[in-house]
C-alpha cells in the first residue's frame, strides 16, 4: 500500500485523507480475506495514516500539513460514514485500531485528539459501530489514555454545552459496552482527591440512573470478555466496581470538605444533593455484587477471579485513613462523626458483600484472609469508654495475631464512632467475627510497611 503515497502527495489535505481511507478500507478487506492470522496492518500503512490523516510531521524539516477546522469536520464525517457503512465487524475493528491504536510515538497526540473528536461526534450522532469500536479501544489501551478520552466526553457533554447531557445519556441504550467502559474510565479519572477530580453532578446523576435502571450494565464488559483474553497491563479494570466503591466510600468525606469551601448560599437551588445519589449508587453496587455468584459460577470463575483488586482496596483504605485524619482536624461540627461513619460503613459493607459474593478473593495463607482496618491510637482518646476500647483493641490484636501469625498488626482501628461499644452486642460480634474469621464486617488494615 506504500506505493500510493506518491499519488496522495499532490492532493489537498482533505482529498488525500479521503483517498487514503478508501484504500485502507480495501486493503483491510483483502487482509481479512487472505485469512492471515493474526491480520496485521503493516507499518508502511500506519505511516501513511500518520502522514495523511493525523498529519504528524514526518520529520522535523518537512512542514506539517494542517487541516482547517472545516476540513477536519468533513474528514470526521467521512470517517463516521465509513465506519457506519462497513458491515463487517472485523474490518471495522482493524481499521479503527489502525487509525487509533496508540503507537507510542509523536503521532499519538494527534491520534488522541482526532479520536476524542470522532467519539464525541459518534455520541452526538448515535453512531453505534464507532461506539462499539471505541469500547474495544477502551479495553485495550493504557488507562491514562482511556481517562483522557473520558475527559473529552465529559468536557463536551457535561461542562461545555449546558443541556447536552441527555445526548450522552443515550449511549446507555446505543452501546452498553461503550457505556460500561465509559463508567470505568470516568471512575478511574475522578478519584475524589481534589475538587477538579470530583465528578460533575450531571455525570454522577447520569451514572446513578444508568446503574439503577440496569445493574448488569457495569458487568457488560466482564460478561463479554472471553476467558482467554488476558487483560493488557495497565488497562482499565474489567468492571467499574472498584472505582464505584471508591466513589461511594470517599464521597462523604470528600464532599464534606468541598462543602466547606463553597458557601451554602452560592449553591444553586436546583442542584440536587449528592448524598442520596451516592447512597443509591452504593446500594446499586452492592446489588451488582449480589449478582456475581451466579455469573461467576456460569463462567466457572467463582473463587478464581476477583473483580475487586486487593491493591486498589489497600490504596483506598490508606486514602480513607488520610481523609479521616483530615476530618478529625475539622471536627467541630456537631455531626462531625456522621461522615466518617458513613464512609466506614460503606467500605465495610462493600468489602463484606464483595467477599461473600466472590468479588474479593482472600486466600488464607499467602494473602489476606481479611483486611484489618484499625484505628489510630490517637482516635481512642475520644472514646468515652476508654477501658473497654483498649480492652477491645488488645483482644483484636490478640486474636488477629493468633490467626495470622505472619502479619503484624500495627494498631487497632476500632469503629468506636459508629459502633457503640457500650453495647456488649458489638463486643460479642467482633469477638465472634474474629474467631470464625469468615464473616468480617470490620476491616482490618494491613500495613505492609510494618509487616
Amino acid at each position: 500500500m506504500g506505493d500510493i503515497r506518491q499519488s496522495l502527495l499532490p492532493r489537498d489535505v482533505l482529498s488525500a485523507a479521503k483517498e487514503l481511507l478508501y484504500h485502507l478500507d480495501i486493503y483491510i478487506c483483502n487482509l481479512v480475506q487472505s485469512g492471515r492470522q493474526p491480520p496485521q496492518v503493516d507499518s508502511k500503512t500506519l505511516d501513511l495514516i500518520e502522514e495523511f490523516i493525523l498529519h504528524a510531521p514526518k520529520d522535523r524539516n518537512a512542514p506539517a500539513r494542517r487541516m482547517s477546522a472545516l476540513q477536519e469536520l468533513q474528514l470526521l464525517e467521512i470517517m463516521c460514514s465509513c465506519f457506519q457503512e462497513q458491515s463487517r465487524d472485523t474490518v471495522r475493528q482493524l481499521m479503527f485500531s489502525a487509525l487509533f491504536g496508540l503507537q507510542g510515538n509523536a503521532a499519538d497526540e494527534s491520534r488522541m485528539a482526532l479520536l476524542g473528536k470522532l467519539v464525541s461526534m459518534a455520541v452526538a450522532m448515535g453512531r453505534v459501530p464507532i461506539l462499539e469500536c471505541a469500547a474495544t479501544w477502551l479495553q485495550r489501551t493504557h488507562r491514562v489514555y482511556c481517562v483522557r478520552l473520558a475527559q473529552v466526553l465529559v468536557d463536551d457533554y457535561c461542562s461545555m454545552v449546558p443541556g447536552s447531557v441527555p445526548t450522552l445519556q443515550n449511549i446507555h441504550s446505543a452501546s452498553p459496552r461503550f457505556c460500561c467502559q465509559f463508567i470505568t474510565a470516568v471512575t478511574t479519572l475522578y478519584d475524589l482527591t481534589t475538587e477538579e477530580l470530583t465528578p460533575p453532578i450531571e455525570l454522577l446523576q447520569m451514572i446513578v440512573s444508568w446503574i439503577q435502571e440496569d445493574p448488569r450494565l457495569v458487568l457488560i464488559t466482564f460478561l463479554n470478555t472471553p476467558l482467554t483474553g488476558s487483560q493488557p497491563i495497565n488497562s482499565l479494570d474489567v468492571t467499574p466496581l472498584g472505582g464505584l466503591v471508591r466513589w461511594c466510600v470517599k464521597a462523604p468525606l470528600a464532599y464534606k470538605t468541598d462543602k466547606k469551601q463553597t458557601p451554602t448560599h452560592e449553591r444553586s437551588e436546583n442542584v440536587p444533593e449528592v448524598g442520596p445519589l451516592f447512597s443509591t449508587l452504593h446500594l446499586s453496587v452492592l446489588q451488582v455484587l449480589m449478582l456475581l455468584p451466579n455469573i461467576l459460577n456460569e463462567k466457572g470463575l467463582f473463587g478464581r477471579m476477583g473483580l475487586l483488586q486487593l491493591d486498589s482496596l489497600a490504596a483506598l483504605t490508606s486514602e480513607l485513613s488520610r481523609l479521616l485524619d483530615q476530618a478529625d482536624k475539622h471536627a467541630h461540627a456537631s455531626d462531625a462523626h456522621a461522615a466518617p461513619q458513613l464512609a466506614l460503613d460503606r467500605l465495610a459493607q462493600a468489602l463484606q458483600v464483595a467477599k461473600a459474593n466472590g468479588a474479593l478473593l482472600c486466600s488464607r495463607g499467602r494473602n489476606l484472609e481479611a483486611v484489618l482496618f484499625l484505628f489510630r491510637p490517637s482516635r481512642l482518646g475520644k472514646v468515652e469508654s476508654k477501658i473497654k476500647t483498649v480492652k477491645m483493641r488488645k483482644m483484636l490484636v490478640k486474636h488477629a495475631s493468633k490467626l495470622y501469625p505472619h502479619f503484624c498488626i500495627i494498631s487497632v482501628f476500632s469503629r468506636i464512632n459508629y459502633f457503640d461499644f457500650h453495647s456488649s452486642n458489638n463486643v460479642l460480634l467482633i469477638h465472634k467475627l474474629l474467631e470464625h474469621c469468615k464473616q468480617l464486617v470490620f476491616l482490618l488494615l494491613l500495613n505492609k510497611s510494618v509487616c
Binding site: 448524598g275 442520596p276 447512597s279 443509591t280 452504593h282 446500594l283 452492592l286 446489588q287 449480589m290 458513613l342 460503613d345 460503606r346 465495610a348 459493607q349 463484606q352 458483600v353 467477599k355 461473600a356 459474593n357 453495647s423 452486642n425 458489638n426 460479642l428 460480634l429 469477638h431 465472634k432 464473616q439 464486617v441
Partner: protein, 701 residues
C-alpha cells in the same frame, strides 16, 4: 445466642435508617444477609421495606426467597395469608392491588406450591375452597388432582352446614367456579349419574338465583326511594344482592340461564345425549325433547333410562326457565321488589261476556265464557294459541293489551313453552316420576313464583276446582314466606292476586255466593292499598309504583262491574241501577247496550232516584242521556239525582217555586258535571268504591 443478637442489632440499625435513607438501610441488610444467610429476620426486614414501599418486583423476589428458604416461618405464612386473601377479595384498593401484583411476580411453580400450602393451613371450608379454586384456575393441570374432591367438599359442606337455600356460598363456588373446571376437563372421568347430579345441583342454584326475591337491602333502599322517586334508574339499587359468606362482586352471577345452558351442553356431550350438538337455545331444546319423546315408548333398558333422564333434565329446565320468563312478566315485583317496572298481571276469566249475558237476560251462562283476558285492557288485543296441539285449553286465547304490556309476545311465548314443557314431562309415567323426584328434592312446592305459573296454567285449562286448590296452596306458600308480610309490600300483592283469581274462578263456576264473599274480602283488603295509593297517584302520575296500584284497581273495578251487572239482572231497584250506571262508565262504551237498556228501564219506570249520581257520573254521553230524559221529548222522567232532593219534593210538592228551584239546581248540577268530564275516571270510581263500599255490598244479593 450471640449471632442472634448481632442480627437483631443489624436489623435494628436498618430499621432506624429506613425513613432517613432507605438505600443505606437496604445496604446494611444486604451486608447482614451475606453475614447471616440463614437468618430469617434480616430477609423479612428486607421484604418489609420493599413491601411498605410497594415495590412489586423486589418484594416478590424477596418473598420468593423467604418462601424457599424459610418455609416453616409462621410470619411467612401470615404474609402469604394476607396475599391470598387479597387474591380472593375483589377489593380495588391500592394495597390489595399491590399484593396481587406481588403474587404475579412469583414463578408459577411457587404460586402453585404457595396456594397449596396455604390451603392446607386453612381451616375454614369456604376459605379453603376459595384458595384451592385460585389454584385450580391458575393451574389447570391441578384440576385433575383436586377438582373432584373440592367439588365434593363443597357439597358436603353445604349439607353439613344446614343452609336453607340452594343459593349459598358453597353451592355458588361449586356451580359457578368448580363445576365448569371439572366438566370441561376431559382428563377427569365422570360417570353419567354424577354428571346428572351435578347438573341438577347447578340448575337448582341458577333457578334459585334468578328467582330470588329482592334482597332485604334492596327493599330498604326501595322504601327510601318511594319518598322521592325521580327516575326508574333509581330502583337499580335494589338489584344488589349478596350471598351470605361471599363478597358483593363474587355474589354476582352474570347471565345465569346462559351459563346453565353452557353447562348443559357440556354435560350433554359427555353423557352422549341424543342429538345434542352442543350449544342450543332453550327453545330448540324443547323442540328436540318433543321429538325424542316420540321414540321413548319403543325403547327399553339402559337406552330408555338415558333418554328419560335427558328428556327430564332438559324438559325441566325449559319448564322452569319459561315459567320464570312468564312470571317475571306478570308478577315482576316478586323478583324486582319495588323497582318493578310494570304492575302485576292477573289471568282471569273474561268477564266482558257479562254485557251480552245481560242482554240475553238469562243469568249466568257458563258455556259462553270461552274467552279470557288478562286483568285489564282489551284495546288492540288478541294473541291466540289455537295452533297448540294439546287437548286441554284448546281454542282458548289470552287477551292482552299490547300497548300496556310491551313484552306481551315473549310473555305469552314463555307461558306457552312452559305449558308445553309441563305437558311433555307428564306425557309418560317414567318421565313424570323422574320429574317429581326433582321437584321433591328442590322443594318446588314452596316456590311461590312457580305456583303462580301453575295456577295460571290450571286456570287457562279451565280447571277451576283445581285452580282453586292451587290458589289455596299459593296462599299457604305465601304465609310461609318470611319477611314479606308487610301490608304494603310483597305479600299483599300476591294476596290480591289470590283473591282476584279465586273470585274469578268462583264466578266461572257460577258460585256467586262465594264470589260475593270474596268480593267483600277483596274490597276490604284492597282498600288500604287504594286509599294510600290515591294521593300518590295524583302526585306522581308517571311514577312506576303507581302503575301497579292502578292496574290492581282496574282489576278490582272490573270485578265489581261484573258483579254489579250480575246484580242488575236479578235485582232491579234504583240503587242497584244507579250503581250499574256509575260502573258502566268503566270501559265505556263497552256496556253501551246495557246502559241504553237501563235508560229504557228508567223510561218505563217514569222515575229514577239515585242521589250519588252527580258524585260519580262524569261520562258526557250518560249525562246527555239523563238530561234528555227530563225533557218533554225524553218523557219528562222524574229524576231525583241530587242529595235529599226527593225529600224536598215530597215536602213542597205544591209550591211551584220550589220545583222551579229544583229544576234550576239540576241544571246547575248538570253544567258543573259537564265541566268534570275531564276528571280521571279511575279516581272517581275508586272514590265510589271506597265511599259506597257498604251500600255496594248491601245491594249485592
Amino acid at each position: 445466642m450471640s449471632a442472634q443478637k448481632d442480627c437483631e442489632f443489624l436489623v435494628k440499625k436498618a430499621r432506624e435508617l429506613v425513613s432517613v435513607d432507605s438505600c443505606a438501610a437496604k445496604a446494611w441488610l444486604i451486608t447482614a444477609r451475606t453475614l447471616y444467610p440463614t437468618d430469617f429476620n434480616i430477609q423479612y426486614e428486607m421484604y418489609t421495606i420493599e413491601r411498605n414501599a410497594e415495590r412489586t418486583a423486589p418484594a416478590g423476589r424477596l418473598l420468593y426467597d423467604m418462601f424457599i428458604n424459610f418455609p416453616d416461618q409462621p410470619i411467612v405464612w401470615r404474609e402469604i395469608g394476607v396475599i391470598t386473601a387479597a387474591l380472593r377479595s375483589d377489593s380495588q384498593d391500592k394495597h390489595a392491588q399491590f399484593l396481587r401484583g406481588l403474587f404475579e411476580t412469583l414463578p408459577g411453580r411457587v404460586q402453585c406450591e404457595m396456594l397449596l400450602k396455604a390451603t392446607e393451613q386453612c381451616f375454614n371450608t369456604l376459605e379453603k375452597a376459595e384458595m384451592l379454586l385460585l389454584l385450580l384456575k391458575r393451574f389447570p393441570e391441578s384440576v385433575v388432582q383436586h377438582g373432584l374432591s373440592l367439588g365434593e367438599t363443597l357439597l358436603d359442606a353445604e349439607a353439613s352446614e344446614n343452609v336453607d337455600t340452594p343459593v349459598n356460598c358453597f353451592r355458588k363456588l361449586f356451580v359457578c367456579d368448580v363445576l365448569p373446571l371439572i366438566i370441561n376437563n376431559m382428563d377427569i372421568r365422570l360417570p353419567a349419574s354424577l354428571m346428572q347430579k351435578y347438573i341438577l345441583k347447578a340448575a337448582e342454584f341458577y333457578i334459585g338465583y334468578v328467582t330470588r326475591g329482592p334482597s332485604a337491602d334492596g327493599q330498604l333502599q326501595g322504601s327510601q326511594d318511594s319518598g322521592n322517586l325521580k327516575s326508574p334508574s333509581m330502583s337499580r339499587g335494589s338489584q344488589r344482592y349478596v350471598i351470605d359468606g361471599l363478597s358483593e362482586k363474587s355474589s354476582l352471577v352474570a347471565d345465569p340461564w346462559e351459563r346453565l345452558l353452557e353447562l348443559l351442553a357440556v354435560v350433554g356431550v359427555r353423557c352422549e345425549w341424543q342429538g345434542d350438538k352442543g350449544q342450543r337455545s332453550f327453545v330448540d331444546m324443547l323442540q328436540r325433547m318433543k321429538e325424542l319423546c316420540r321414540y321413548l315408548p319403543g325403547l327399553d333398558g339402559e337406552t330408555r333410562s338415558r333418554y328419560c333422564s335427558q328428556v327430564v333434565i332438559c324438559g325441566a329446565l325449559t319448564l322452569f326457565r319459561s315459567a320464570f320468563l312468564y312470571v317475571s312478566a306478570v308478577q315482576p315485583a316478586l323478583f324486582q321488589g319495588h323497582g318493578a317496572s310494570s304492575g302485576p298481571w292477573i289471568l282471569v276469566e273474561d268477564l266482558s261476556s257479562v254485557y251480552s249475558d245481560v242482554d240475553l237476560d238469562k243469568g249466568p251462562v257458563k258455556h259462553a265464557q270461552k274467552k279470557r283476558k288478562q286483568a285489564d285492557g282489551r284495546e288492540k288485543t288478541m294473541s291466540s294459541d289455537d295452533e297448540e296441539g294439546l287437548g286441554k285449553g284448546r281454542g282458548r286465547h289470552i287477551l292482552v293489551s299490547k300497548t300496556e304490556m310491551p313484552n306481551w309476545s315473549e310473555t305469552l311465548e314463555g307461558f306457552r313453552a312452559a305449558r308445553e314443557s309441563w305437558d311433555l314431562l307428564h306425557s309418560h309415567d317414567a318421565l313424570e316420576a323422574e320429574f317429581k323426584k326433582i321437584c321433591a328434592s328442590w322443594k318446588t312446592d314452596s316456590w311461590l313464583w312457580f305456583r303462580i305459573f301453575l295456577t295460571d296454567m290450571i286456570v287457562f285449562q279451565g280447571q277451576y276446582r283445581k285452580a282453586l286448590s292451587s290458589l289455596h296452596q299459593m296462599s299457604a306458600v305465601q304465609q310461609h314466606q318470611p319477611g314479606q308480610q308487610s301490608p304494603s309490600g310483597q305479600g299483599s300483592l300476591e294476596h290480591h292476586r289470590v283473591l282476584i283469581q279465586q273470585a274469578s274462578c268462583h264466578y266461572a263456576l257460577g258460585e256467586y255466593r262465594v264470589h260475593t264473599h270474596l268480593f267483600h274480602l277483596t274490597i276490604t283488603s284492597l282498600l288500604p292499598a287504594v286509599t294510600s295509593g290515591l294521593p300518590q297517584y295524583s302526585a306522581f302520575r308517571k311514577g312506576l309504583k303507581i302503575y301497579w296500584i292502578m292496574c290492581k284497581c282496574r282489576a278490582f273495578m272490573f270485578l265489581i262491574v261484573s258483579r254489579q251487572l250480575r246484580a242488575f239482572a236479578d235485582n232491579r231497584d234504583d240503587l242497584s241501577l244507579g250503581h250499574v250506571v256509575v260502573l258502566l262508565q268503566y270501559d265505556w262504551p263497552q256496556g253501551e247496550m246495557l246502559f241504553l237498556k237501563s235508560v229504557d228501564k228508567i223510561y218505563h219506570q217514569g222515575s229514577f232516584q239515585y242521589e250519588n249520581f252527580f258524585n260519580y257520573v262524569t261520562n258526557i254521553d250518560m249525562l246527555e242521556e239523563f238530561a234528555y230524559l227530563r225533557t218533554p221529548e225524553g218523557g219528562r222522567i222524574q229524576l231525583e239525582l241530587l242529595p235529599n232532593q226527593g225529600m224536598l219534593i215530597k215536602h213542597h210538592t205544591v209550591t211551584r217555586g220550589i220545583t222551579k228551584g229544583v229544576k234550576e239546581d239540576f241544571r246547575l248540577a248538570m253544567e258543573r258535571q259537564v265541566s268534570r268530564c275531564g276528571e280521571n275516571l279511575l279516581s272517581v270510581l275508586h272514590r265510589f268504591c271506597i265511599n259506597e263500599k257498604i251500600i255496594i255490598i248491601q245491594s249485592l244479593p
